[in-house]
């Protein structure tokens, strides 16, 4: 336990700090290129940062991928469904739900889901899902995935609703109908490729949403991923671990964005022509 007399106050000498930062960064990078990310002290002795990174990265990215896949599939279908029916009684509730999904804070949603699970346990006597813990089955993954997918789902549904609505008013869709095509083949052949770019942009944005809520969700449901480990490491001042994990998160985000940017060129021929 830290007592008040043992706490050392930080000094704000900027020159000294920037010199220290420069040498530390150089040393860290030169080690990291050789694959040596350093060690951290735990109660079980020295542990390699690399092994922690590997374990937590797989756990986090698995959760993130499942959540994003669910969000993309359900969100796009909901947006497309709302556009194609264009019935006020269907469109309005979907849009209201998306507003709720975007504006609800993730910890609040997690809290509500956990309370719901506790009430279920109290009334029926057996648990439906686990409120915390790690495991690759639906019992452990349902609640974190729901919380993690809520905001991307809502955002993607809105984006696909707007993009689809704009495309379905275009002239070439009317031409396709007048050719005698039915709704299904009109959408599949003529509309889908045109909404690819706004939808891919929306996927990039929702990736950032879900990456930023990842620490909260992992903290709340005690999922042993990067976010939880990162928060612990910041609390315990394990600098090398913090830097490595944050760097891994940032590089993942940048790589996925790069992948999305490249995929624009393959999907939309108009982008290729401009360049």
């Amino acid at each position: 336990m830290i007592r008040n007399s043992e706490v050392n106050h930080p000094n704000y000498n900027l020159i000294q700090h920037s010199k220290l930062a420069w040498t530390d960064t150089k040393e860290y990078l030169s080690n990291a290129i050789r694959g040596n990310f350093g060690y951290i002290e735990t109660q079980y002795g020295l542990v390699r940062v690399k092994t922690i990174l590997k374990e937590t990265y797989i756990n986090s990215m698995g959760l993130l991928l499942v959540a994003l896949a669910i969000a993309i599939i359900i969100g796009l279908y909901a947006g497309a469904f709302a556009t194609l029916t264009r019935h006020k009684k269907i469109v309005l509730p979907i849009l209201l739900l998306t507003i709720f999904g975007i504006s609800a804070p993730s910890f609040f949603a997690g809290l509500m889901l956990r309370q719901g699970e506790i009430y279920y346990l109290r009334t029926f006597g057996k648990p439906l899902v686990n409120v915390a813990g790690f495991g690759w089955d639906y019992k452990h993954m349902l609640l974190p995935v729901l919380v993690l997918a809520a905001r991307p789902l809502a955002y993607l549904a809105r984006a696909s609703f707007i993009a689809f609505g704009r495309i379905m008013d275009e002239d070439f869709i009317r031409t396709a109908y007048s050719k005698g095509l039915d709704k299904r083949s009109t959408v599949n052949v003529h509309a889908i490729r045109n909404i690819a770019i706004p939808v891919l942009t929306a996927i990039g944005v929702s990736l950032r949403f879900s990456l930023s809520t990842l620490p909260i969700v992992e903290f709340f449901f005690v999922w042993p991923g990067m976010g939880l480990r990162l928060l612990e490491a910041i609390d315990l001042r394990q600098t090398t671990l913090v830097v490595t994990l944050a760097l891994a998160l940032g590089l993942t985000f940048l790589a996925l964005n790069l992948f999305l940017d490249i995929s624009y060129r393959f999907i939309d021929p108009r982008v290729r022509e401009i360049q």
């Binding site: 930080p10 903290f219 928060l231 001042r237 944050a246 940032g250 985000f253 940048l254």
Partner: protein, 331 residues
Amino acid sequence: MKSIKKIFSFLLNPRFRYNEMPELLHEGSKQFVGEAPSGKHNSPGFRGLLGNFPLIFGGTIVFILFLVVLFGPLIAPINPYIAGKHIVPHYDSEKEEWINPPLSPSEEYPLGTDEWGNDILSMLLYGARNTLVACAFITMVRLILGLILGAYAGWSEGKATDQIIMGVISVILAVPMLISSMILIYSLDIRKGLPVFIIALSVIGWTEIAQYIRSEFIVLSKMPYIEGARAVGARNFAIAVRHVLPNILPQLLVITFLELGAVLLLLGELAFIGVFIGGGSGIALGDETIGIEVLTQSNVPEWEAMLAEGTDGYAPSPLLYSLQRLRSSFL
């Protein structure tokens, strides 16, 4: 009041001075200038405002919050800054029962107490200052930074300064905002309180505003009237302030209110993982034989910290839950 209006329209509306300088114009061209908008004919007036229900509703909420920030501590029953004003677990010999906080609402404590025995009502009233003042300051600094840097980047599009600013923005955006702000707050020393939060959250959060302002500036700086202003001989800074800025002012207002909500949300998430204003001090439970559990406790009344403590246990005071609901609806 009238003079304030005059100053504002002088600053924001370039057409305002037209009727003050008719002699500069050619006789024949006067008919194209027209009258300056006086405001009397365009605005619906005070009676029109009363019919606008959402405006009245939102205005009332903001007014009440404003009153709480100003006069809250005067009407609060207990000052939470004074130590020893909270309830400790004890045996009440009159009622013959253990009194163990959190207490449910009673006459003495209208909203009950939290886990540590502090009165929730007075903490709410005192905490409004900390939370809302932090929120307002963070938003203000973010807006100023984003406006200046975004405008500069958008004005010098494609040059070295633009690329440096965009590079900084993409570096800041690559790491989740929660993580980077937490690292910055801890490295600046969380025990310093409010200023550290304002610095950290505004240094990290200006990027999205700057991106938006930059894109608006790129679009607007190619407009014909900018070319006209340049032909008249206005300098770059004057063009940016007098001709481009008034055009993005309405969007800027919308961004301000969205940003206020986003800052409150981020403060809430930070509090949830144990980083709140007045945090950093801990209470150790147990001794070395049975293991020590360190609880972070806030010694400054603040809404977000109260929220975080409310989520800690499974069944704390039910009023903390309603507080959370209230707060999220306020967002």
